[in-house]
Symmetry: C2
């Protein structure tokens, strides 16, 4: 659709825009007493704690609209929000979505973004229960508040890990970072020669991991089915090294992670080779993976291996005095360090 | 403090910055099961509904840092967040604060912002229970999620107004808008001649209304003391006209507002005269007032007048078929219209 065929937001007005967006996402949650259309959303959970998380997504920092479709962006924003709720071993139920729109956005663009939000809401069972809509003088600004519930005895904090617990990780690492590198490379090629078509073939997995990541609803369900409540849990969004250190610090433990156990996809290795980046570095510091890192008592080793096929035991906690180290296959111990200031 | 004496955020690192901010605001709420330091905040209210609101504040749209002190900005952000909670006749308890920082911000600047947040948290009895901290490539981006509670029977929606109810308003209108006009005028003067000192004397009230507005915690307390639960309520943040129309639409009613009953401060009149703006227009469309507009049964007229000194009865609801009108002292009926697209 050309810009000339699109509807200006000023032509529709803020409040009619909000009405239109509310119609796109009309899923209902029994726990939503009042959704969009009042000063605040009203929620009631029965016999459960309320869990609330916040994520701010800014253009140029968290996403580049030259290669990020708006529908994917809406989906990814919801993934980022609910991933934090799953990391508490809780069930997300509602989201509030705030959006700052610059002049280059038309009503149809916002609808496209909300179409992605809707798909994510359906997948995760969420109601869009409120938010804020405003203008932006700079880029697109997005914020998600995710709200969920868990019975007290199921809630899992970062702080519950014990010093002999196994360290478990879902999925694989570094792929989202590699997908971003691929898109950035093709953007540079395109900037140099706009006739050139982007070369993205053969890298579907890493692209999908960057553009349309999934939160691990399936793992939370699988843990519940096995009656496993992890002793501690965190979502891996800043990179494994940084997030493992958070978990250790809060659990007052040290950690040993076995390098050869880090799950890394073949596409991640292949593209890392192609651009001469170390795939392990991407896995440790890449970020944006939205996987879950959790600990369980060592007695659950067999259950984890047999019943949770997408979970790897990558190491174990130890006494805080023993520090946090990565062990290489030739038994070198490399101190685990977090990166400094990072966007996410 | 000169920039050269300040601490770069990169020097401190994201996570140490968060720790430092958490120390500034260390108020505790019994209902916060877990505050800052995990993937999400955990909240438990006993026998009450949970109320959640969201506000996005973007540089250049909601605030201008050339004349807005960061401490005031932090305070105002919290005011905007909790005003929505009070508008539900609920009590705010927690906030999540998300912040996108561009390179020109130093650690001391962020601490200044949080010092304002802290003062507001103390005033409103809030705990800063989480949020998100990230970089911004454009301006300063702020988001507040305010969370509160109310027993079901006290919760007040926009939709409960009845067709003979009195329309009541707290405080006065248009002053925040006039304060903004004054600051914008002095900025233009300064841009033209940087030697010139800003002329702000005699306008303390309108400046304070723009720079450090208060949410009406006192009114919610006064209503509770009088055992009054309004039939409907909304906070006046988009301008009286727009917000009154929202209330009417949701309550399926019309409205009559008496022009001569609109509360407007003498400073608002005085500065409006000075810059040749109609003070009533500012009152109707100015926005950013953070006052409460609510309805009560007509039988409460005497109680409202006697027991709630900072509340004015400015009109009444009527049948939807009678429309929404402003009545002038000479009995002209002017249709109430909302502005189009507005920042807030």
């Amino acid at each position: 659709m050309n810009a000339s065929e699109k509807t200006a937001i000023t032509a529709l007005g803020k409040f009619r825009l909000i009405d239109r967006l509310a119609e796109i996402v009309e899923l209902k949650q029994p726990s939503t007493v009042k959704g969009i259309g009042d000063d605040a959303a009203v929620i009631r959970y029965e016999n459960a704690e309320t869990v609330v998380s916040a994520e701010l997504f800014l253009e140029g920092v968290h996403f580049d609209l030259t290669y990020t479709p708006l529908k994917h962006l809406g989906y990814k924003l919801v993934t980022a929000g609910v991933s934090d709720i799953y990391a508490m071993n809780a069930t997300p139920r509602q989201i509030l979505l705030s959006i700052g729109l610059s002049k280059r956005f038309f009503v149809e663009d916002v609808e496209e973004l909300y179409a992605g939000v809707k798909i994510a809401c359906e997948r995760y069972g969420l109601e869009l229960a409120g938010g804020d809509t405003t203008t932006s003088l700079t880029g697109l600004a997005l914020h998600i508040t995710a709200i969920g519930e868990a019975p007290k005895e199921k809630l899992t904090y970062r702080s519950g890990g014990k010093k002999t617990d196994l360290l478990c990780l879902t999925g694989d690492l570094g792929a989202a970072y590699m997908g971003l590198q691929l898109l950035e490379r093709e953007k540079r090629v395109f900037d140099g020669n706009p006739q050139k078509q982007p070369q993205l073939e053969g890298f579907d997995y890493i692209l999908q991991r960057h553009l349309k990541p999934e939160a691990r609803k399936d793992i939370i369900a699988a843990l519940a089915q096995q009656h496993i409540v992890p002793t501690s849990m965190i979502d891996v969004s800043n990179g494994l090294a940084s997030d493992a250190l958070h978990l250790c610090r809060q659990s007052k433990c040290g950690v040993r992670i076995y390098l050869e156990r880090l799950p890394i996809s073949s596409e991640t290795f292949r593209f890392a080779d192609e651009i001469h980046i170390d795939a392990v570095t991407a896995a440790l510091h890449g970020g944006d993976d939205y996987e879950l890192l959790f600990t369980v008592p060592v007695s659950l080793y067999d259950t984890i291996c047999k019943e949770l096929p997408d979970v790897d035991v990558i190491g174990h906690l130890c006494d805080a005095s023993e520090g946090a180290y990565l062990l290489t296959p030739d038994n070198q111990a490399v101190a685990l360090t977090a990166q400094g200031w990072k966007a996410d």
